[in-house]
């Protein structure tokens, strides 16, 4: 039996909606695990990444940890894919790019409505925020993009099955949307 394709996934500055959409393939996941084995991913809770064939990245890049995880994925994955609007173009979190980081932190932790014990968190365990939120292709080379907020389960299924079958990837019209 040929060795299974190793797949890793991560959610950077995302909402886990794309991972939910992947789980939304329902019972087809049984077909999927016949073909792939999961490495680092929130689905297995494995925290470190090994050598992988395919990396799926959800979410944009908003803090120092996102940069580190993304670079690690690029280093270990033969094929890296931006999954969903945030990975593709930064998505909803880029709305904060309209304001300075200081203004965002002040609004959230100092002067916003309903704040008790105002003060910007500075625990060293909390990753530092970047000045702006970025799509992942601004940080590493990305091999493929799947838009959508989130991409539907059928879109992800089309992508995975055609990729695993070694075919060119072609989506029906209704499977590509930016919202």
């Amino acid at each position: 039996m040929p060795e299974k394709v190793r797949v890793a996934t991560a959610s950077l500055c995302g909402c886990f909606g794309c991972h939910m959409s992947l789980l939304d393939i329902d019972e087809r996941i049984l077909q999927l695990v016949e073909l792939v084995s999961f490495d680092r991913t929130p689905l297995t809770d494995i925290k470190t990444i090994g050598e992988c064939d395919l990396g799926l990245i959800e979410g944009g890049v908003a803090n120092a940890e996102n940069v580190e995880v993304l670079r690690e994925f690029r280093h270990h994955c033969k094929l890296l894919v931006a999954v969903g609007a945030c990975a593709v173009n930064g998505g909803v979190p880029t709305m904060r790019n309209q304001f300075s980081l200081k203004a965002c932190l002040d609004e959230s932790y100092v002067s916003g409505v309903g704040i008790h014990n105002p003060g910007i968190p500075k625990d060293p365990e909390i990753p530092l925020l970047l000045n702006r939120v970025h799509p992942i292709h601004e940080v590493v080379k990305v091999d493929y993009f799947i838009p959508g907020c989130p991409p539907s389960a059928d879109t992800l299924w089309t992508f995975l099955t055609e990729l695993l079958a070694g075919q060119p990837i072609a989506f029906p019209y209704t499977q590509i949307h930016y919202d």
Binding site: N89, T94, Q98, H134, Y173, H177, Y178
Partner: protein
């Protein structure tokens, strides 16, 4: 005497003086476009309607057809350049489709689907541009403006008001509003203006009805713009 040219190898008639876009539309052939609207003078600014003529690519909305002209509307080279133009439009503005009320009814988005754009490719600018919600019936998000000047042309040529203009040059070009404060609410802009209904993006949006029609059931959610047609043909459903 009848005149003809060929579009993707198909012989089509034209009337002297007609642009490639007009002749193609008369024959029912779709050429993707954003700044083109047959109600107003051609503008040629968005460059999405690029077609191949000889060894050059020209904008179909401003180039007159000539006898025997051979036009390429479908080759990979033409589609690649259209897609690149769209990617630049997306990278230059703030087009966050998941939060835009126009999503699904958006011509910019629909044309990008048509060309097979999966991602904006270029590093995004994330320009800091304000939202103007001062008008009781309409909102303007300048971050979504692609400078097509359709609102400028409609307000000037149809409404006779000149509510809008483009100010600045090059990268600094931006939409401005004719009122002392610069706000839409202080201008003479009205719901009944044509300028209120020609925006091909989510830059000029009607208030209070953004999600009347759910995502998934909107104009371009199921069928491509080449089949559905422009927003112009569906205004009752959108605005």
């Amino acid at each position: 005497m009848s005149h003809s040219f060929t579009l993707d190898g198909r012989e089509l008639p034209f009337v002297p003086g007609q642009t490639i876009m007009a002749a193609a539309q008369a024959a029912g052939v779709y050429i993707p476009h954003l700044c083109h609207n047959p109600d107003y003078a051609p503008h040629g600014s968005c460059r999405v309607c690029l077609v191949g003529v000889g060894r050059r690519q020209v904008s179909a909305c401003t180039t007159p057809v000539t006898e025997g002209m051979e036009v390429d509307n479908n080759s990979e080279a033409v589609q690649d350049n259209r897609r690149a133009v769209l990617q630049m439009l997306f990278a230059e503005g703030n087009h966050i489709c998941p939060v835009c009320e126009r999503s699904g009814n958006c011509q910019l988005q629909a044309v990008a689907y048509y060309t097979g754009m999966l991602a904006p490719h270029y590093p995004p600018f994330f320009p800091r541009r304000p939202v103007d919600a001062s008008h009781p019936d309409f909102i303007i998000d300048f971050g979504r403006c692609i400078l097509c000047e359709l609102c400028v042309r409609a307000s000037r040529d149809h409404d006779g008001k000149r509510v809008f203009a483009i100010s600045g040059r090059g990268l600094a070009s931006h939409l401005v509003i004719d009122s002392e404060s610069g706000l839409l609410g202080d201008s003479c802009f009205a719901v009944t203006d044509r300028a209120a209904h020609v925006c091909p993006t989510g830059a000029i949006l009607p208030k209070h009805k953004g999600f009347e029609r759910p995502i998934g059931e909107r104009l371009y959610d199921r069928e491509p713009i080449s089949t559905v047609g422009d927003l112009r043909a569906h205004e009752d459903e959108v605005d």
